[in-house]
Subunit: 198 residues, 2 copies
DNA sequence: TGTCAACTTTACACGGTGTAAAGGCAGAAA
DNA sequence: TTTCTGCCTTTACACCGTGTAAAGTTGACA
């Protein structure tokens, strides 16, 4: 897919990802990326019209590299709604740390750049659909709490599984990734399912 | 307190707050604030060394105006842990929309300005203490879930009640403030308390 | 009258993004 | 071999927002 037919572009995407990977070094400038990719800053603009599109392209690149679609498809095979919810938390929850750096950069850009805001919102809409599917599966099993509508339940799960929430728990509060997944599964079920009887 | 002995400074704070109030107009520049406060841009720098400190000072100003301390103190009087949690959700949850604009601006600044990051983190630490108090009250009543430590429960509640979570639910998803409060109370209890029997 | 504080005006440095234009260079095509 | 083409470099610059610097204005107060 991406790895043939335009090696420079791919090198730029890979470099961008590497520079943003940890998410600690907040200030990744176009010149930093250019230098790391061993290219002139101007050549960057021959491949991407601006910083926002470069960042968005990088997220798409990561989706490909990690085959997020494939993993998602697998989670759809879960037999019960609850199992599907658990799987969804695993798949998306474990993907967050990989995209965290780019996500952070894009979210920072949101404030000033409407185009970046739209792009990020689009990507998050895909996550919302995953949440909606899990909620629908719970509703199908008849175990969804009666205290929220399906939409509200989807919104709530989506928010619980958001990148800022992950950031606060795993970066600010120091949760391990494993603990995050385990507790998210628990919290999601407690929030969305009325009686805990298995 | 703030309303005597330095009228210009107070006018600046009030203006800053007004400009940031809705949170929609993302780009509030120093020159915008100066113009709205009917002052030269340079005069701003006579009162505040930089944008970050102006924003932080504005949050403190709001704390005063809304007497957040007083309301917090009242919530401490709740008889049971669960009542205290409910009160805490009401007090803090209803304060979020008022500080949302400034919060958004400060959070955007966090990426580039370490000082702003520290300042915001300080303010959020105060919120965490409110969460810790509610969790401790639940633990004192013996109703805190056995599946998390007290620290983890505090972290989880803190994240549930974070500004980005409010933003996603009330701005992106269109929840009303009342519904937000009602569902947050429910979700918090379901997440933190084991058996739902009253 | 003089002093002081608050404020204005003008000007500028800096850093980061994005634009513009001219030229280098390798490989394919004629 | 020449020429064309695509990809890249170099240099230069405009724009924007933040923050600094310095000289001048104004009004109150003693």
């Amino acid at each position: 897919m991406s790895s043939k037919k335009n090696p420079t572009r791919d090198r730029i995407l890979k470099t961008t990802w590497e520079l943003l990977e940890d998410g600690g070094a907040s200030a990744v400038r176009m010149s930093d990326i250019a230098k790391a990719a061993k290219i002139s800053r101007q050549a960057l603009y021959l491949h991407f019209p601006n910083r926002a599109e470069l960042l968005v392209a990088t997220t798409r690149y990561l989706d490909e590299v990690y085959d997020i679609e494939g993993k998602l498809a697998a989670s759809r095979a879960a037999p019960t709604g609850r199992a599907r919810l658990h799987e969804w938390v695993v798949v998306w929850g474990n993907y967050i740390p990989k995209i965290y750096g780019i996500a952070k950069a894009l979210m920072a850009l949101q404030a000033s750049d409407a185009e970046a805001a739209d792009a990020w919102s689009d990507r998050m809409q895909a996550v919302r659909e995953g949440c909606a599917a899990a909620v629908a599966a719970l509703a199908g099993d008849g175990v969804l709490t009666s205290q929220m509508t399906e939409k509200e339940a989807t919104d709530a799960l989506w928010t619980l599984l958001s990148v800022p929430a992950w950031e606060q728990l795993c970066v600010t509060c120091g949760w391990t990734q494993d603990r995050y997944i385990a507790l998210m599964q628990q919290m999601a079920v407690h929030m969305l399912v009325d009686d805990q009887a298995p």
